[in-house]
Amino acid sequence: MKKLIGIIAAVLVVALIGGGLLWNYRTGQAEVAFLDTYQIPAGELKMEVWGNKYPLHYDSYLKTAEGGVGGSKYRGSENYSRLSAWPFQYVLFDGWGMGVEYTEARGHVYALTDQLDIDPSRKAAGGVCLTCKTPLANQMREQMGVDYFRLPYDEVHAKLPEEAKELGPACIDCHNTEDAGLRLNRWTLEEGLTRIGKDPNKLTTQELRTLTCAQCHVTYAIPKDENKKSIDLLFPWEGGSFGNITIEDIEKTIKDNGLYEWTNKLIDMPLGHVRHPEFELFSNQSTHWSAGLACADCHLPYQRVGSVKISSHNLASPLKTGLEPCLQCHKQTEEELKERIFFIQDRTNHLLTKAGNGAAQAVKAIEMAMKTAGTDQDLIAEAKEFFEKAYYRVVFVSAENSMGFHNPPEAMRVLADGLDYAYQAELKAREALLKAGVTPPDEFDLELENYDIDEAVLKEAVLINGR
């Protein structure tokens, strides 16, 4: 019996080998890779040197210099006054550089040169402003210590080597020199990720395709010493987690740590600030985030160039490049998709304009209450508290670069809260006025004639905003 089983097994094995020999089995192809004809020197800053090895990527990057005018209804990356387009911001930002010049940033190519050109009041915080504009930020901070944050902007800028004097975000900010794999080049994000319990050393490629952008496209806060000098730079994400950083977390970090950076002149009120929270809004369970997409999927879309596919480095709104990445998944026409995008953005803008004007009304109401003799100081303090909440929420959306598109429902939630808080602030101020025997007007005058408004931008904006 044993012998029989043995024979059968032997026959089976032999037959299998025979079948295998006869059968024309095909193996995989040999591994293909870029010929390593050129090694980029470690720490190389110059993009044209990287271009020697990656000419197609460098080529696509150079296109960002052309701008990309048109396409986007809310004029992303076009050089215009964002203050004049939403004039309520003149009131909200009265008292610091943001209220003097707030010009839409152009592409990465101009990041540093545009900053050199901007009104000096915007660089009052000091060398800290260079953190996102130079790939040498890590090194500068290590060499200079707290002086890097504190010293005047021009003084710190002068310390940059000649080749980096006009160099904005560069290849080395996102790629390593060995094989162009993705990497992070800012201590700020590494600290920020640690703060929300995400290990910055254990990131997948797909996560890095978002997080390389999140090195700068996030909100930040600049802690100050007793003399109002900048001493650090951090991402106010306390209490948040990866994929869930909310305006409430940001607000709480600012309040708990006293991260007040400026004082609104009209109501003499210290405030923190919220800056371009693209990563925070998008990663907070937006539709596209939940579908597993990264920033790069839409903003560095794949493109065929010759025989290979590259990730286009012409970073811009897909609206400026024919919605190429959108159409890969959404099987509608470009026009239909554009209509949908504008539908979402128009509604965000509608609520943003309302909430923003509501917050500006609150400022004016509080201002009047403060100027009136004998008003109840407690009521004014309460009004200010509500206004602070409204301020962060309005700015969270107005500073974010997508007019809500990165996460429509969350943007609307934040704006609705902002509008609510703005009204509560105004009500408290009105109550204070009434108690002091003054009848407040139905609508407070924003006194926009005090500001240097770009009429052309305003005129166009009124057509879009309706106000």
Partner: protein, 140 residues
């Protein structure tokens, strides 16, 4: 005399057994076998047959490993037996969805053939080609 018979028998077994094994392997490796014998996969078969990928070997080009012969045979046997089990003893759903294990295999095969095309960018380990290229090659 006895030895000659033994050798002849061995040659016969190798020959006949080999041809039969090859026949069985070929038969069960064709797209027609997957697509028409097993009628839960008719839709996939029809769509694949009209796609640009029809010039390849068929279902197995993507759905079996091609790194080495042993892996190939093992996977063919286990997956094949599971298909037989599902089709005969379970009630397969109208909308077939690929398993995690199956997806991880297919994506390797995408990369195996399209290696030249994708060599110029950083490929995400945790994303599948068809997350974006949704219709390829037979929809799902």
């Amino acid at each position: 005399m006895k030895l000659i018979w033994k050798v002849l028998a061995l040659v016969l077994v190798i020959g006949v057994g080999g041809v039969l094994t090859k026949g069985a392997l070929d038969y069960t490796s064709g797209a027609e076998f997957c697509g028409t014998v097993c009628h839960t996969m008719e839709g996939q078969y029809e769509r694949w047959e009209h796609s640009s990928h029809r010039v390849e070997d068929g279902c197995i080009s993507c759905h079996l490993p091609h790194d080495n012969f042993v892996n190939y045979l093992v996977r063919k046997t286990t997956d094949g037996l599971y298909d037989v089990y599902s089709f005969t003893l379970k009630d397969p759903p109208d909308r077939l969805q690929i398993s995690q294990r199956g997806a991880d295999l297919v994506v390797q095969n995408c990369q195996r053939c399209h290696e030249n095309l994708i060599m110029a960018y950083n490929v995400s380990e945790d994303r599948y080609c068809w997350d974006c290229h949704r219709g390829l090659p037979h929809g799902f």
